[in-house]
């Protein structure tokens, strides 16, 4: 299989995945009790008023037509209009999505090198004192629920040692980048879990790579350990690590909600809570699809990285 064919197959799978996600999201909205029409009118609305509102929102039409319209719109990056505010969903979620994206990006920028470093050190010193210590710390960090970690961080760094803000409040008219200190605690909370979890997988990948014949051959050939690690062992460990970091990224996009709530970070969680409250299905479906797309792209990129470092994927089938 050539690299191109590999890529095309992966892209095809990505599109199919997104389609399935779209079906699930749409079906989920359909079967949930209540709808945007009755939610926006309140409990005193008459049946006629609800029907009229349903017609205005277009939710009275049969679902196949609406689904096709929604998908066709999504392809053009038109995710419909919020039933509450009347704004396009894309406009409505742009700022919160960017804020969550920033949080995820900073967390990834800290977590990935940290996890690589810790995993590498642990893997190379397998079963040593440092490895056992790091393993124990990682298990603890992964086991504590995020809201507890976040709460402890607030207690220590905002309450007992008041050095950092307790909530992430950007300046009026600005973003988190205008007041970077508000990112510190949310990023720390997310990194503790993310880096600890990913470092365990990096460690395992390093141990596996260390046991491969070509690494062993490099050592037997008398190459310096630095060269063995950087030229032979690390490239062999990249494929599983790339997948791991794609998982990490997707986990962060889907899992920042708790941290965003504790720190009142102005990300997607607030938009989602408001959308759930108002049965704003257009926003819920749109955000779901956007997140799914981001996650799928992350995995495709991971595949590209794997392809780049694994010659077998580039030449196989020739």
């Amino acid at each position: 299989m050539t690299g191109l064919r590999f890529l095309v197959r992966r892209l095809g799978a990505a599109v199919a995945t997104l389609f399935v996600v779209a079906v699930v999201l749409f079906a989920g909205s359909e079967v949930l009790p209540g709808d945007a029409a009755s939610a926006s009118l309140g409990p005193d609305a008459t049946l006629e008023e609800v029907e009229q509102r349903r017609a205005e929102l277009g939710v009275d039409r049969p679902w196949p037509g609406r689904f096709v319209e929604w998908i066709a719109g999504a392809i053009r990056l038109d995710l419909g209009v919020s039933s509450v505010s009347g704004q396009p969903v894309v406009d409505l979620v742009a700022a919160p999505l960017a804020a969550t994206g920033l949080l995820v990006a900073v967390t990834a920028a800290v977590s990935v090198p940290l996890a690589m470093g810790l995993g590498l050190v642990s893997g190379l010193r397998r079963d040593g004192r440092l490895d056992r210590t790091l393993s124990a710390v990682a298990v603890v960090a992964v086991s504590i629920p995020q809201f507890v970690v976040a709460g402890l961080l607030v207690l220590v760094f905002a309450d007992l040692l008041p050095v950092l803000p307790a909530i992430s409040l950007p300046p009026l008219g600005g973003t988190a980048l205008d007041r970077p200190e508000i990112l510190v605690l949310p990023v720390t909370a997310l990194t503790l879990f993310g880096a600890a979890w990913a470092s365990r997988i990096v460690r395992a990948a390093v141990i596996d790579a260390d046991a491969t014949p070509h690494v062993e051959a490099a050592r037997l050939a008398g190459l310096p350990e630095r060269v063995v690690v950087w030229r032979h062992l690390l490239p062999a460990a990249v494929p599983p690590c790339a997948q791991t970091f794609a998982w990490l990224l997707s986990g962060l996009f889907g899992g920042t909600a708790v941290v965003e709530v504790v720190f009142n970070y102005p990300g997607l969680s607030q938009t989602l809570v408001a959308a759930v409250r108002n049965h704003d299905t257009a926003v819920l479906e749109g955000v779901g699809l956007l997140l799914a797309a981001i996650i799928v792209v992350a995995f495709v990129l991971a595949d590209v990285v794997v392809m780049a470092v694994d010659p077998r994927l580039r030449v196989a089938g020739r």
Binding site: S40, A158, L172, P266, V276, R277
Partner: protein
């Protein structure tokens, strides 16, 4: 102004309120309120005026809700709305007061009401308040997409007329003696004729909406306010979803006042000398109930309803489920508010409860419940223990808060369920919740009762109407379907020295706040 003795009514529990409270679990979402009459001048205990005050409030103000009285729902949006707009009438400190209205008088049979307006009031853009503005506002408030349109259901909207510059005539579709408390006090913000773009709101209130960014809304004092210049130059209303985060932000100095903290938070911070916990008292509270539907078995038997009410230990429920931040209730909504019948405290009587259960042949019950307000599940579990002592096994059917109100049309089909109301004047509560078509008529009131309710509402004479509603409360106390066990107080916290926050129908007003001298 103090001569107006009417019933207030907080707005009908809205869907937004219900689901919002359910999702977020904040106890303070209990309805809406209206500004108090601006008395002019600070009343905050001799402190200094404040250049800027940051307020942490549940829910962020959204673009579509900010400054739009037709879309106001809950939390921070109400606070913004109440500071930007004045209303015709309000409930302040348990009293009905005129705000933009100077008088509101009925004709002989209460089918037509005449509103005389205060003179000398100007909107933020300098235009004077005129009768035409009131006509426009009332029609807009009473018409969809206004989410308070139902409040105006009894008003003949097209026939509202401006008699002269400061007089408005409001005809009703049927006689209603309770027009002031059932309509004007509930929701009557006034905006100028022709205002349709509520992203640039124009009211006559003590603040103007200057800016909205992210979760923060900035309000600036209206220097020309007819009620006197506000003592706080700028208000920053910051939407903070989580009650714990609001308290953390207050402790870290990021906000000066946190609206809605948990009972646990209040207890933890009780000894903190830097903070002051503000308790709303029963007048600003959720009324918590285990509602029995009188139309459904076994609660169609009055003995069963009475037995359940006698088996409950209300003080234990308040102490345990609300950590003491509440007051015991006696089955009728409206304590500490106008028109409350002041019924005798309902004492626990296990022997009587056992006897009544035995007579009715009831040994097991099922309660639909969920954490619809903080503490409700604990209260339900405690009720199960208390009923067991009376010989009845209570099974709890637990639902998640967001599923609890998913289908409003079936709410009144459950025999026994945990429920909460806004504590509002009894007459207003009974009118809004216990009539035949109310989705929240979860106690299944009888047709005879509803006939008496309609007659009470139509009574033009204030005293006679109050007496009629008192009789309805007594009937509800004796035979109604609520085991209303506690008032869950609004709990806020503020920086030490911040004084003068007014609580008006569960909405905080900051225009007369003073800071440390």
């Amino acid at each position: 102004m103090g001569d107006a003795r009417f019933y207030d009514r907080r707005a009908v529990l809205r869907l937004g309120l219900l689901t919002g409270a359910a999702v977020v679990g904040a106890p303070l979402l209990a309805g809406c309120g209206d500004d108090a009459e601006p008395a002019g001048g600070p009343s905050g205990g001799g402190g200094a005026s404040v250049p800027s005050l940051k307020i942490g409030a549940p829910h962020a103000v959204t673009d579509s809700e900010a400054g739009n009285p037709l879309a106001t729902s809950i939390g921070a949006t109400l606070i913004v709305m109440r500071h930007v707009y004045d209303s015709l009438m309000v409930l302040d400190n348990g009293e009905y007061k005129y705000q933009l209205a100077e008088s509101v008088e009925p004709n002989a049979d209460a089918t037509e009401w005449t509103i005389k307006l205060r003179s000398g009031v100007t909107f933020h853009d300098g235009r004077p308040l005129r009768a035409a503005d009131v006509v426009h506002s009332l029609r807009a408030l009473g018409t969809k997409p206004s989410n308070r349109a139902s409040v105006y259901a009894l008003v003949d909207l097209p026939k509202i007329t401006a008699v002269d510059d400061l007089t408005v005539r409001v005809p009703l579709l049927a006689p209603r003696g309770d027009f002031k408390e059932a309509v004007l006090v509930v929701f009557s913000p006034i905006f100028p004729e022709g205002l349709t773009d509520f992203t640039k709101p124009i009211g006559s209130g003590p603040y103007t909406l200057a800016e909205r960014s992210g979760t923060t809304t900035r309000l600036v004092a209206n220097e020309q306010y007819w009620g006197g210049r506000p003592t706080v130059d700028e208000l920053h209303v910051v939407g903070i979803l989580d009650a714990g985060a609001r308290l953390s932000a207050l402790k870290a100095g990021q906000v000066d006042y946190a609206i809605g903290i948990s009972a646990t938070g209040a207890r933890t911070e009780a000894a903190n000398s830097e903070l002051v916990v503000h308790r709303g008292g029963p007048a600003n509270a959720n009324a918590l109930s285990f509602a029995m539907n009188q139309k459904l078995k076994p609660f169609d038997d009055p003995r069963v309803r009475q037995a359940v009410r006698l088996a409950a230990d209300r003080q234990a429920l308040v102490d345990n489920a609300l950590l003491g931040y509440g007051t015991t209730a006696d089955d009728v909504v409206g304590m500490k508010l106008p028109g409350y019948a002041d019924l005798p405290p309902r004492a626990r009587d296990l022997d009587q409860a056992r006897r009544l259960f035995a007579e009715a042949g009831v040994t097991a019950l099922t309660l639909r419940t969920g954490e619809i307000v903080p503490g409700m599940l604990n209260a339900s579990r405690l009720l199960a223990q208390q009923l067991k002592e009376a010989g009845v096994e209570l099974t709890l059917e637990e639902l998640s808060p967001d599923a609890y109100y998913a289908d409003l049309m079936t709410l009144a089909t459950h025999p026994f369920q945990a429920f909460y109301y806004s504590n509002r004047p009894a007459a207003v509560h009974l009118s809004a919740v216990t009539h035949a078509k109310a989705p929240f008529n979860v106690t299944g009131t009888s047709e005879a009762y509803q006939g008496k309710l309609a007659a009470a509402q139509a009574t033009p004479d204030d005293k006679a109407r109050e007496a009629a509603f008192r009789a309805l409360q007594e009937e509800f106390y004796a035979e109604g379907g609520d085991l209303l066990w506690g008032f869950q107080e609004q709990l806020d916290a503020g920086r030490k020295g911040i004084e003068g926050v007014r609580m008006v129908q569960s909405v905080q007003l900051f225009d007369r706040v003073t800071g440390p001298a």
